[in-house]
């Protein structure tokens, strides 16, 4: 990935930081720039941004060879999320369906941020074909993030909660 002096200019760290700021400011999901054979592509990873998250996860891809640009991802992979501390475990949806945080509209959510959970603790319901499937945490720890909204459709493998397994 060595480049000519102009390419080094192109990949100037300050410039990239400005692009990242611009993405955050304008809530962009992807920036793809090319100059000659050099290319910068910055794209948000798949995980939905949390309210109040300190940093927006960003992933920069290396400059691509000339030719057609690689296709955008239809739905970025949950696994494309930035590396997390290994004590954080994601509770993922085991099926496609509708996410419900509580057993019924009048009840409080099964779990909220700060709640302790064990492997058997029901954390939510995913409704598929009129069947309300109770989803267990399958891990012990503390809920540190709820990643989906009540009533939101979720696909297979969609991260639902973040659990801090240290506590």
């Amino acid at each position: 990935m060595t480049g000519s002096p102009s390419n080094q200019d192109f990949f100037d760290v300050r410039k990239i930081r400005r692009l990242v700021d611009l993405m955050n400011e304008r809530d962009l999901t992807e920036i793809d720039l090319r100059q000659g054979e050099a290319r910068i592509r910055i794209r948000r990873a798949g995980e939905p941004a949390m309210a109040g998250a300190a940093r927006t996860p960003l992933a920069a891809s290396p400059p691509a060879a000339p030719g057609p640009p690689p296709a955008k991802e239809a739905l970025p992979a949950p696994t494309a999320a930035p590396p997390m501390e290994d004590y954080i475990v994601l509770v993922k949806s085991p099926m496609v369906g509708t996410f419900y945080a509580a057993s019924d509209p009048d009840s409080p959510p099964y779990v909220s941020i700060g709640d302790p959970v064990g492997p058997e603790t029901v954390v939510c319901i995913v409704e598929a074909m009129k069947v309300f499937n109770q989803i267990p945490a399958e891990v012990s720890g503390t809920i540190v993030a709820v990643l989906v909204e009540n009533g939101e459709p979720v696909e297979y493998g969609r991260p639902l909660f973040k659990v801090d397994t240290r506590k």
């Binding site: 992979a77 099926m95 297979y156």
Partner: protein, 447 residues
């Protein structure tokens, strides 16, 4: 008309259906497995949901997951494409009981024609010729041997629930029959969960000719002429064309007429195909009905100018057929080569991998239906077809020349493909003169 359709398939046929929907102004919901995540064609849908892990049994074949995706996607209909759930009568029934239209025939008609035994019985009843064979299922080797003596060797042992050539065996004498029976039974049981078999006369030097049909829910059935799919290897089609070369016009008309009668008497609606084999004397025999859109449907689209996917959607929405039989005309010759990611020098072994270069052909009369792109990974989980190259020209000679030219332009790097074999077939005098049968490829390029 439907507002939103779920496409319950993957790859090129998913893209083909999404394209038709977009032209009709219908929104689309795609589903995909983890192995297909990131495929570019998913972006052409309005929404896409991951429904499971790569294994088809846990994703594309999982009825509850498909229906669940249809419900959260709020669709009015499901197009099953081909493969996976396309000919699953139970799935069609489940869709409709969830108030989601299944774009295909009624599940009763699908179950009837899907049972080859019942379909043959129906054909015989209405005077459509079938290959001489057992009256229904044969239950053991003794019964098979008695039937074989009566109809004469060679005989073909076939799975009642079969398709795509699986569970089929040719036996030339009594000794071979005993072995074939056991093998076919085990293979059918493994592939379809149903080891039931039947027996029929093995027609020598057969050609495979099939008739495309469209039927509406108002009792109208039309045929869209025939396709010749003789160029197959182990019952997997490689090249299809329309019209069938060297087919007597009286035979062509008789076959198309027989196919219409069969579809009518099965109370079948939507698109379907009736398959026949034809011997050198022009005798034709009914083989089976394919209750779905077929891979090779573009060949018929090119010669008739009728978009079969749009027709399927309109028929499922209850619209009548837009044209009468005498208005269906066939122009010129269309030919299709299936481009599979396979190593033809190593027994057609699948060649999964990442495509790092692709240059699709173009120009007059060339159509390339493909979902692959640079960076696309051909996964080992599904069938190996990566594209269909279709050429339409005024005459067969011109179509063959056009196909040779288009194959020469096509560049795919990263995986091995069937293109070199297609080029050899296109140059072979027997194929050029249409003096071939369904064993031609296996005999000429044994592997």
């Amino acid at each position: 008309m439907f507002k939103r359709i779920l496409v319950a398939s993957r790859g090129e046929i998913a893209l083909r259906i999404i394209r038709a929907c977009r032209e009709l102004g219908i929104e689309t919901v795609a589903i995909f497995s983890e192995a297909d995540r990131g495929a570019a064609y998913l972006e052409t849908a309005d929404q896409a949901f991951c429904i499971g892990p790569p294994k088809a049994a846990d994703s594309y074949l999982k009825i509850d997951r498909v229906i669940s995706a249809a419900e959260i996607g709020n669709v009015q209909a499901i197009h099953p494409g081909y493969g996976f759930l396309a000919e699953n009568a139970h799935f069609a029934d489940v869709c409709r009981s969830c108030n989601i239209e299944f774009i295909g025939p009624p599940h009763e008609a699908m179950a009837l024609v899907g049972d080859k035994n019942a379909a043959r019985a129906l054909a015989r009843k209405i005077g459509v010729p079938t290959v001489p064979g057992s009256e229904g299922l044969v239950h053991d080797e003794q019964e098979a041997s008695a039937v074989a003596r009566q109809i004469g060797f060679p005989v073909l042992v076939k799975a009642a629930a079969g398709g795509g050539g699986r569970g089929m065996r040719v036996a030339v004498d009594e000794k071979a029959l005993a072995a074939s029976f056991k093998q076919a039974e085990a293979e059918a049981d493994a592939a379809f969960g149903n080891g039931e078999l039947y027996l029929e006369k093995y027609v020598e030097h057969p050609r495979h000719v099939e008739v495309q049909l469209l039927a509406d829910a108002h009792g109208n059935v039309i045929h869209l002429w025939e396709r010749d799919c003789t160029m197959q290897r182990r019952h997997q089609k490689l090249i299809e064309e329309s019209p069938a070369p060297r087919l007597d016009d009286s035979v062509r008309h008789a076959m198309c007429d027989a196919a219409v009668r069969l579809i009518k008497s099965a109370n079948y609606t939507n698109a379907g195909t009736v398959e026949f084999i034809v011997d050198r004397q022009g005798h034709f025999y009914f083989i089976e009905v394919n209750a779905r859109i077929q891979v090779e449907h573009p060949v018929t689209e090119m010669v008739t100018g009728i978009d079969l996917i749009k027709a399927q959607i309109r028929l499922a929405a209850g619209e009548p057929l837009p044209l009468r039989q005498e208005e269906v005309r066939s122009h010129g010759t269309a030919i299709e080569c299936r481009i599979n990611a396979e190593d033809t020098t190593k027994g057609f072994r699948p060649s999964p991998g990442t495509i790092h270069r692709i240059y699709p052909p173009g120009g007059f009369g060339v159509r390339f239906d493909s979902h692959v792109h640079v960076g696309y990974t051909v996964s080992p989980f599904y069938d190996s077809m990566i594209g269909k190259l279709i050429v339409h020209q005024p005459t067969r000679a011109e179509a063959l020349a056009g196909m040779r030219r288009a194959l020469g332009e096509l560049r795919i790097e990263g995986v091995k493909t069937t293109v070199p074999l297609h080029e050899q077939i296109l140059d072979h005098p027997a194929f050029i003169e249409a003096r071939v049968d369904t064993t031609f490829i296996e005999r000429t390029w044994p592997s």
